[in-house]
Symmetry: C2
Subunit: 273 residues, 2 copies
Amino acid sequence: MIYKDKLSKIIKASNSNLVVGLDTDFDKIPSVFKSAKNPMLEFNLCIIEATSKYCAGYKINLAFYEAAGYKGLEALEETVKAIPRNRIKICDAKRGDIGSTAEFYARAYLDNMNFDSITVSPYMGFDSVSPFIERKDKFVYLLVRTSNKGAEDFQTLKSGNKELFDIVASKALSWSKNQIGYVIGANHLKEIKKYSLSKANTPLLIPGIGAQGNDIENLMKNINNDLFLINSSRSIIFAGHEHDIKSVFLRKVSEQANSLNNQITSLRKKHFK
Amino acid sequence: MIYKDKLSKIIKASNSNLVVGLDTDFDKIPSVFKSAKNPMLEFNLCIIEATSKYCAGYKINLAFYEAAGYKGLEALEETVKAIPRNRIKICDAKRGDIGSTAEFYARAYLDNMNFDSITVSPYMGFDSVSPFIERKDKFVYLLVRTSNKGAEDFQTLKSGNKELFDIVASKALSWSKNQIGYVIGANHLKEIKKYSLSKANTPLLIPGIGAQGNDIENLMKNINNDLFLINSSRSIIFAGHEHDIKSVFLRKVSEQANSLNNQITSLRKKHFK
């Protein structure tokens, strides 16, 4: 099944457009998880159990795992395996290298770990993306308009009458209509509106809600297709308090995921045309 | 000591501007290394021994190690430790993420593994670079003008009268005069000439020689400062034949590194003004 169909099916079945970002910063894991052999893994397994009812999938940002060495790699591999089969698995890698090297990143994350999709940086052009989309059931979320301050350094440069990010978005469609979507920060409402209205029905991955602090109602007013995923990381997985007992911590995580998902779902019903 | 000074000192002491790229593709490792507990590591240790006299340092492309799981991580960690102290260690990571995430990549590679420098992609702007240069003895090689075909997709877009890569290069200098250099492919002679003439004496990392096939004499005619590093990977580390016995394979590797280094050194003397 191609990713777009899988995504559509999962969004409907889970009644959710939320992805939980497993930005598992070792230092922020509450002490009650620290007695486990691999605290990052134990924490993630509990988070998945607490949230899977309220989300369409998980996004794993590799940086947090790479910073933790072998334990990090173990946590990463075992976490991906623990994500339920009927949930989307996004590898937040932001890689971008020449084709022969990108092929190895594709093997690492799409073949060996079996992620469904991966985030990729566009700076090096087509051959840095192609190995990922040569896997016909896999999908690339290309960095188009990111949520951070530095996004204004280059992404908004004008060439002719178009901005760089817009040129990236168009070019990506010429590379593949079905296997490339866009990463667009939740603060870029104009772009979210524009791209979610496009006929190509391009899947959007939208970070920047929660800890990065953008208004969810404003965001939802501007989304016009159904293949979007909204990512929230820290505001969900660290919703509990450092000194909570495990069950209390996880109940807060669960409630936060449920509440954010309800918000998204009801606003989707209200605003979706 | 800041990186530029360390680099200058090592280039002089080693009489070399060559970096050997440890693109250790597991499938290409000759069978004589495959009986080792960790063939990638064993291969790298032998390559370092065979080449360290003829190079200024090593560039390690993470993709090859990530594709090999735990053994890859072990090979990576132990290889970095085995590189002689008086050689430069470049982490070819091409990462680029929001500041809080980039901080974790900096911990993984600059703190934990103690690489001297790291390649970074510019698309997400300043905050994706800043955690790396907050470490005052560390250094970033920013992707400016890459050697691959896809480099023409976005890097040469014109904004005003400047191309994107040139805007990236200028902006990088405004971020840091001492801690950011450029990755420029060996096929981009005009840019190599221009940037190596700049007063900032910006270190250049130049891939695209050897397997990627660009003429070394033409390249050397266009280099005008002494802080450049030329990378060669496959053409050195796989210079031997699959069925060679170990000593023969490594002698060929050694000879190839020596020969390329001699070429670079004599052309440097001939052309350097």
